[in-house]
């Protein structure tokens, strides 16, 4: 009975309205996809550990070696990939909604430029040898500066979507030029590490960092998932959203800052992983429609499945050398998206 009463709350009612339709089916499929992808990533790597042993090791039984490898080496990495994937996909989804622009993604509004500049500087000045936290810290500071600049610039235009995109693009250009400037001052050998970082890389994920950044990303993602209906209202444009009682400007501010925080934390953990925030919302929109109440969590789930999958591919294709995961997301995601676009035209 208590359970019944619980299901009467309006949130559950709206959730239930989706049930029975293709949306609940999509969520079920996404969840299965997430589990599969999670264990696929966990089981792939240089040491051959089978899928079954992998599950066993995760729950503490099985060979000691396997338990050690899975729990202390692979699990943090896979968790990082899943969390970052979810966060980037959710923030990409809200950016496309509040900016009413299909090309928007978490890094459109300048986070990536700042993060790349901060991290490059830290790597090239060898600050990483002082402490492992210097690279993520500098990356986060870079993002912070860039996002603040975008916030101040677009604030003067009352957070109009075009003004936000333009100021984001401007900041990205300034920072990417600054990155090029820094690179041109160092030798090719020194640049390598920074270059790989920029493409996105999970090989150096520190557990302590993952704990802090992961908590922030998860909290932010949950917040974004719950704000789906506000994003709906904002996506109607400021005139309509104001006359249905939504303080569009304030909502845009809060959502922009949350999504940027997620992107900045993600970038500080594993570099700039492009495309996932752009593409996952598009894929889910084609499958379950544009209502952000369902779209944001669905995108987050797809992102959480897709990034571990790409990470597994990145580790195994050219093993033992690892590819930057950003390269894989771009190639795989791009091809899959092209397929989706052409398929829709026929029908």
């Amino acid at each position: 009975m208590a359970l019944c009463a619980k299901f009467k709350s309006p949130l559950c009612q709206q959730a239930r309205r989706f049930c029975g339709g293709k949306i609940s089916l999509a969520f079920l499929a996404l969840f299965i996809l997430f589990i599969l992808s999670f264990f696929f990533d966990l089981s792939s790597g240089s040491n051959d550990i089978s899928f079954v042993n992998c599950v066993k090791a995760l729950f503490g039984s099985g060979e000691n070696d396997a338990v050690l490898i899975i729990k202390s080496i692979r699990l943090p990495r896979v968790l990082a990939a899943a969390i970052v994937g979810a966060g980037l996909a959710a923030s990409g989804c809200v950016f496309q909604g509040i900016l009413r622009n299909p090309l928007a993604e978490p890094f459109t509004l300048g986070v990536s430029g700042g993060a790349a500049f901060g991290a490059s500087l830290a790597l090239l000045l060898k600050l990483s040898s002082v402490s492992v936290f210097f690279v993520p810290f500098c990356s986060f500071c870079g993002s912070f500066i860039s996002v603040s600049a975008v916030y101040i610039l677009s604030g003067q235009k009352r957070f109009d979507s075009n003004a936000m995109i333009l100021s984001g693009v401007v900041m990205s250009y300034i920072f990417s030029s600054a990155v090029m400037l820094v690179y041109s001052l160092f030798s090719a050998a020194q640049i390598q590490a920074a270059f790989i970082w920029i493409m996105g890389d999970f090989s150096a994920v520190d557990e302590r960092l993952l704990f802090a950044a992961g908590a922030v990303i998860i909290a932010g993602t949950i917040f974004l998932c719950l704000s789906g209906n506000v994003v709906n209202a904002v996506s109607l444009g400021s005139e309509k959203s104001k006359t249905i009682g939504v303080e569009a400007e304030r909502a845009v501010k809060i959502i922009f800052l949350t999504a940027s925080l997620i992107a900045a934390c993600a970038a500080s953990v594993c570099g700039v992983i492009g495309f996932i925030g752009l593409m996952t919302p598009h894929i889910m929109r084609k499958i379950i429609g544009a209502n952000h109440f369902a779209l944001i969590p669905a995108s987050a789930l797809l992102g959480a499945s897709f990034l571990p999958f790409c990470d597994a591919i990145a580790r195994t294709v050219f093993a033992p050398s690892m590819l930057p995961v950003g390269v894989i997301t771009g190639i795989f995601g791009g091809i899959f998206f092209m397929f989706l676009l052409t398929r829709n035209k026929k029908s």
């Binding site: 209906n229 006359t243 249905i244």
Partner: protein, 257 residues
């Protein structure tokens, strides 16, 4: 009842409305007509609290709309803007539900009552046959009906429409005005429409406000406002005013000099 006294308002710092004073009676079906740039949209936006007046006074049922919060105001006045973005493929049902947002909590979760009102409104506006289609797949006429449904579900006493029938053919236009007319007659809601088609304004609305250069040129019944002198002066053209033999309302035909 809406009372406007000596209102000056506009965009940024340029005044578009210059000293406008007028009253709109409760339960009237009021058309605001005038040339492009005469201040029709500015007047509507000021009424909805989207533009802040430079000076003057607005009272809606005796209340100053600018002393109310956006959420409170949106339970009194609903607004359908001229352009709304259709970049995202929402389903018609979801899209109409957005009009219920003033009644929802912070996270905007609809209640059973909200679903009920959406359903009723879809029936009223005859949008239920395409309730599950996406708004970007609709024809122009269907799309306007959906936008009107979204404004009606807000259940406000005052409904304001900014050119709801632009780009529609004569059949689509009549359909929209019949819906608004029934809404006005049966529920007693005050409907205010900005429009360009003088004949439709004369035929469907019971009071007309003619704006010219940000001032009220004339206001009253269709017969009072649609006289050839005012129309020729405002629109800078030559016209003939005739009477519709069936409805008895005035209509205007242009005349080639």
């Amino acid at each position: 009842m809406i009372e406007i006294k000596n209102l000056c308002a506009g965009y940024n710092k340029t005044a578009v409305l210059k000293d406008v004073s007028l009253n709109i009676a409760q339960s009237s079906f009021c058309a605001i007509i005038g040339k492009n740039g005469a201040g029709k949209s500015a007047l509507l936006k000021t009424l909805c609290g989207l533009l802040t007046p430079f000076s003057g006074k607005i009272l809606i049922n005796g209340q100053n709309p600018f002393s109310l919060s956006k959420a409170e105001l949106s339970k009194i006045i609903a607004f359908m803007p001229q352009n709304i973005e259709f970049s995202l493929p929402f389903s018609v049902r979801d899209f109409i539900m957005f009009g219920r947002y003033p009644y929802m909590n912070f996270f905007k979760i609809p209640s059973e009552k909200d679903y009920e009102i959406v359903k009723r409104t879809m029936k009223f506006t005859e949008t239920e046959s395409f309730a599950d289609r996406n708004i970007d797949e609709l024809s122009g006429g269907e799309r306007q009906r959906v936008l009107i449904a979204q404004t009606i579900v807000q259940e406000t006493d005052f409904l304001i429409f900014d050119e709801p029938t632009s780009h529609l053919d004569i059949g689509g236009q009549t359909e929209i005005f019949e819906i608004l007319g029934i809404l006005n007659k049966e529920t007693g809601k005050t409907v205010i429409v900005a429009m360009h088609d003088l004949n439709a304004a004369g035929e469907f609305c019971d009071s007309l406000i003619l704006l010219d250069g940000g001032r009220v040129k004339n206001a009253g019944t269709p017969e009072e406002v649609l006289n050839y002198k005012d129309i020729e002066e405002v629109y800078n053209t030559t016209v003939i005013v005739k009477t519709n033999p069936i409805s008895g309302k005035p209509y205007i035909i242009p005349y080639k000099k």
